[in-house]
């Protein structure tokens, strides 16, 4: 156990006894980049849904790991390699605990959620899905949970069914149930929309999918940063997320899958580390999780991800969620005062991602003008073009709020939007 993990846990139990106020300034102090001006103005970073900033606890862990414990893993009978292996496997255990998974070997490290989904499509999909089988996705998906299934459709002749969303961006559960049938083999749904902030009823989705005999994959890229996630409580078969949205490094992601599925699936890539033995006649696979981790993995990034998880669990996902809930409600209320502004997505179950449009200006013009006020928002289709088509907009501007954002930053957003109206109004 790392020192930071134990101190975080100690801090947690202290809080359990006496819940303290969410001291956002204390957490902001952990993120040096938030204190560097942007375009001569204080940075107002409202694009954590694309990628979150990194606390010192993560960057310092990366630095010290490279300076003191780094070597390749799972080989070398020497002290450094032993330490590096212990840190890497320790990171896997941290992820297991964080997700509530039963076994560390159910945690596969990948480059990111995109690779995790492609892994499932290429291995589980290719082996177990046949022509005519159905994969159910939703209209809210990120391209990374659409395109791999389309590639599988090209190859295998599967059918893709799309759950519609309502005018408020809500997941239409009844329509979802209506799509389930004897041919449904997999339900692959975003746990939370990266565009509208809609949170899907994951537990009900999983139960209904299982009742129909299908497996369930949740794309947890957004949800993992905004709420506690327990894969056994959800009873999902696959859960994927990326480290960089969870305040961790880029180049590292996670695939959780139930052990029996991972055992049944063929390997994803061939190479070193994923074999038990190799001869020119026959090669046998390594046991889990190595079977799915061919080649030298992203060792330091995994260690950095564990530091990020220690960081957010040290604060507490429940407390982060409550803070972000306050920001969501406050920002929604403030944005409603901007003339001609329309929020796209007002599902009852929503986390702190707000897409909006102005009647007078295109999202790119909005983002350019906000940027000159130091306010960083994303403008574009957010890798969700079908959703843009659903709401009949070419693009949206999106403000997303993370653990370090403040009400004052929502005010700064609203103030900067007045400049847009000044130019375009």
């Amino acid at each position: 156990m790392t020192h930071s993990a134990s101190s975080a846990r100690a801090a947690n139990s202290a809080r359990a006894a006496a819940p303290e106020i969410y001291d956002v300034e204390r957490y902001r102090a952990d993120f040096p980049i938030l204190h560097k001006p942007s375009r001569g103005k204080p940075l107002v970073f409202l694009d954590s849904a694309a990628s979150a900033q990194k606390p010192r606890q993560v960057t310092e862990t990366l630095k010290s790991f490279y300076e003191t414990d780094y070597a390749n893993v799972h080989r070398g009978a020497y002290a450094l390699s032993e330490r590096a292996t212990a840190r890497y496997e320790g990171a896997r255990e941290t992820v297991r605990r964080f997700l509530g998974a039963g076994k560390a070997r159910e945690i596969i490290f990948t480059q990111g959620a995109t690779e995790s989904i492609n892994l499932v499509a290429s291995t589980y999909g290719r082996k177990f899905l046949e022509a005519g089988d159905e994969v159910v996705i939703s209209h809210l998906e990120h391209h990374s949970n659409i395109v791999p299934w389309q590639m599988l459709r090209e190859e295998k002749g599967i059918t893709i069914k799309v759950v519609p969303v309502g005018d408020d961006g809500e997941f239409l559960y009844d329509a979802f149930e209506g799509l389930l049938g004897p041919k449904t083999k997999l339900v692959a749904i975003s746990h939370m929309s990266n565009v509208l902030g809609t949170v899907m009823p994951a537990k009900r989705i999983a139960a209904a999918a299982h009742a129909a005999g299908a497996k369930v994959l949740f794309d947890g890229c957004q949800a993992i940063t905004h709420m506690p996630v327990d894969v056994r409580d959800l009873d999902c078969d696959f859960y994927v997320f990326s480290g960089h949205k969870l305040y961790g490094p880029t180049g590292i992601g996670v695939l959780y899958a139930k052990e029996e599925l991972l055992n049944a699936m063929p390997p994803y890539q061939g190479g070193g580390d994923m074999i038990a033995s190799v001869t020119f006649e026959k090669t046998t696979w390594a046991p889990l999780p190595a079977k799915f981790e061919a080649g030298t993995p992203a060792i330091a990034q995994a260690v950095g991800l564990a530091a990020a998880i220690d960081y957010v669990t040290g604060i507490g996902l429940d407390r982060i969620a409550a803070h972000e809930r306050d920001l969501l409600l406050y920002a929604t209320e403030r944005l409603a005062t901007v003339k001609g502004l329309r929020i796209i997505g007002s599902a009852p179950s929503k986390a702190s991602v707000i897409s909006f449009a102005l009647d007078c200006a295109h999202p790119h013009d909005i983002a350019t003008i906000l940027d000159r006020s130091g306010v960083a928002v994303r403008a574009g289709h957010h890798c969700a073009q079908p959703l843009m088509q659903r709401f009949n907009v070419p693009a949206t501007a999106r403000a997303s709020f993370g653990l370090y954002n403040t009400r004052a930053e929502a005010d700064a957003l609203v103030l900067a939007l007045e400049t847009v109206r000044e130019i375009f109004g």
């Binding site: 200006a361 295109h362 999202p363 790119h364 013009d365 350019t368 003008i369 000159r372 403008a379 574009g380 289709h381 073009q385 843009m388 070419p394 693009a395 400049t419 000044e422 130019i423 375009f424």
Partner: protein
Amino acid sequence: MQDELRDLYQEVILDHGKHPRNLRHPADANRRAEGHNPMCGDQLTVFLKVSADGTVEDAAFEGQGCAISVASASMMTEILKGKSAAQAHALFSVLHSICTGEEDGHDHSRHNLLAGLDDEMDRLVILAGVREFPVRVKCATLAWHTMVAAIDGQEAATTE
């Protein structure tokens, strides 16, 4: 308001952005191309009517985009009418230089093509404000890439 923003969003650009000229699909167009900016997903279609001797008799576009891309497309359709295909190419080079600040070599033939087009080139200078906004250069050039593709008989253009 900051000077860079004022330079980018000049009155003329805002006017063309809000009230684009030649936003239509001419029935007698004989060239068309689709333009696509993968960064933002903006898409537009440019329609041209090019005569047998290579003169652009009509230019129009359809699509939606930001103020910069719509204004640039709108101004382009006005400027192109009556120009030869070779002049249209030369004006695109001028526009590109204006938007990026990069000179791409004034060769002799281009110089001749641009003779007498001072007013047109002056009108394009208004787009120079995008120089301060590198990610927006593609917005200003999308319609022009698409126009060149249409003239050259390609069906699609991208800013990549």
